[in-house]
Subunit: 446 residues, 2 copies
Amino acid sequence: MSSRKLHLNAFLMNTGHHEASWRLPESDPHAHVELDHYVELARTAERGTFDSLFLADGPQLWGNVAQRPAGALEPLTLLTALATATRHIGLIATASTSYTPPYNLARTFASLDIISGGRAGWNIVTTAGAEAARNFGLDAEPAHAERYARAAEFLDVALKLWDSWEDDTILADKASGVWGDDAKIHPPRHRGTYFRVEGALNVPRSPQGYPLLVQAGSSEDGKAFAARYAEAVFTAQQTLTDAQAFYADLKARTVAAGRDPEHIKVLPGIVPVLGSTEAEARANEQVLEDHIVHRHGVANLERLLQLPLGSLELDAELPAELPSEDAVEGAKSRYTLVVELARRERLTVRGLIGRLGGGRGHLTFAGTPEQVADKIETWFTQGAADGFNIMPAVLPSGLAAFVDHVVPILRARGLLRTEYGPRQTLRERYGLPRPANQYVKTPALV
Amino acid sequence: MSSRKLHLNAFLMNTGHHEASWRLPESDPHAHVELDHYVELARTAERGTFDSLFLADGPQLWGNVAQRPAGALEPLTLLTALATATRHIGLIATASTSYTPPYNLARTFASLDIISGGRAGWNIVTTAGAEAARNFGLDAEPAHAERYARAAEFLDVALKLWDSWEDDTILADKASGVWGDDAKIHPPRHRGTYFRVEGALNVPRSPQGYPLLVQAGSSEDGKAFAARYAEAVFTAQQTLTDAQAFYADLKARTVAAGRDPEHIKVLPGIVPVLGSTEAEARANEQVLEDHIVHRHGVANLERLLQLPLGSLELDAELPAELPSEDAVEGAKSRYTLVVELARRERLTVRGLIGRLGGGRGHLTFAGTPEQVADKIETWFTQGAADGFNIMPAVLPSGLAAFVDHVVPILRARGLLRTEYGPRQTLRERYGLPRPANQYVKTPALV
């Protein structure tokens, strides 16, 4: 048995990833804006010795509040509160490179990294959609390629800011009255296409140097960006074959970018729906599907496919003619995944909504704990994953069920740590090195 | 005895407000970036039944790291962590209207207000100085008047965002599958001079509606802004007469702006240096002065007075000719206060640095606990203050000394609450009403 271990991330969303989860009798429809809900989830994930937990984000009010719990606590704020309620688990916040000045975002992440003792991670997104753009003075979203060019420059600026204090800047010499060594402060003096940032960060270098860099876009631009910067990648894959191809491609791109392929961890999303028998699991899945309000689902699908509202029929397949991925501005790879899923399984709109309602394109898998563990082990050992992004359909119950029933199996098979051991940074949990400071020159060997 | 009670705010800064505090044997020169330091301070302030605690901020690395502890934890992040470590005390963060998009700041404050159970406050600043501007793509700071015009529009946008959900938007009707009432969502659709913000906030309306609005600029623009928006004002006043004039002026301006003068609380800053005798207090003050490194102090003073570096002599008075306040871009009222202090007391540069080293223009007062309580009572009862911004010279010891020795006297005199009682929002602690939602029309009386 290899000593290679699974990396598990808990993707926390409202009362669960299934859009109808809030309608179940057990669910609290106010939970998504209550700290206690997230504290319970974080502690459950920590009981399951997960590497990290994760919050998605976009700076806009999504969709229609009639449909499902809307609004959220801002991720960096919520994760800071969770940092004080946990001890080991990593805390990964989504934040956009399109709508926040880099100086502000760099200092907030550095602060969270200090407060959490080195447990901060950043899921870097460029934020698709005109709705977000219109909250920040723009009429339309920047083009996909431009968003990624801006993201790359944003990263360069942020890395300069996080390195702007050397680790040993603070002298704290009370006797002479000299607190710090000014020669170890390196103002970025950055003048680029999108940003000009002159001065050093006003936060000392944090325990990890900077947060774990995570990425989740699977478009061509997204994969190129991941190969260059990302240390962990979240991805939506429906089949083992597709997941293996994605995994091999991303590792190869990372090598081509001059990096160690071990320094990028690939985590496909999985929506486990558990039952003590397969039939019970499928029945649990059916209960969720039965709570979907289809008029909402049709409108969401029309929006994703960039079709006029009212153009889809619930009990027909998708139209034969659809735009190509190239013509889509927004979540390009999600678009292609959804269209291919519908074509491959010849799903009606109703069937497609049922499949997407649980995972929005992520792999939904209903089964017994053994079956879920088998699936995870297969993908993990067959070159498709370094770990998984666990996306319970219903929260908190689905996460507790995974921790209570699947985690013990994974541990028994030697695939998952049985305890955290000493305190580690998030990067250490993922088996990644602490980054060097770009301004510190390694002395030449004599 | 009136039932009117003092409002006390703990202004937390590093190892204390005195610039040399970090050099004392008792001080930890790393404390300013350690969560535990602030948790201890917050709990001490809560033991003293303070209304709130407060963090200053600017998005730049101030001055020279050689001089004193530099860098900080970002205030909204730090206060979120402190929200989970406290139960009653208000949490006031400084944030700039010049360098953050309003959508982002509005959602972070709304999130903190929810997480803290209604204890968030916002000290609104426009951020003086070219150093900050150059971290955000500008070559120089915007002019003083333009910064305030932008701040007023920022407030209007933020208030629209905080009101964009009516309080009763969430229906949570599981049976029908309707979560929220879309008719109670009000997108700002704001198109102004500085900002365009289309969509509703992605956070439901918070316990306070929005954070307590605090302001601290005492320039003409600052006072006009305070009269229109502020619910609490921090101010630096050196004499009872000046403080009375400021207090009367601000209350009159608030009435002229159509507001209740009781709905703006004026809190001058005080730097108490305590001793069991007056002589011991003065000796404690002298120890701090003896730790000042004068070359730093001269440079800071030259920067404040906008004089060339090297132009001041340590043992001479200020030059007879200095720029007028009108010619100063930046902290205008602080400039005038410092010049008037030096002229009034005929201080040498060395003497002025000694006076400013403790409070940067705020009232430094060395004395016994009785004397400090007398000072506070006089200002409170003589029309100069609704409470105080307590700025200990040394932290944590100075705050603990105030709570242990001055607070009991104020309580015995009936000037300060003896316990918090039931949980309240920050606005309730300050005796202010919860703001109405601008989009909800009060029905006409029949």
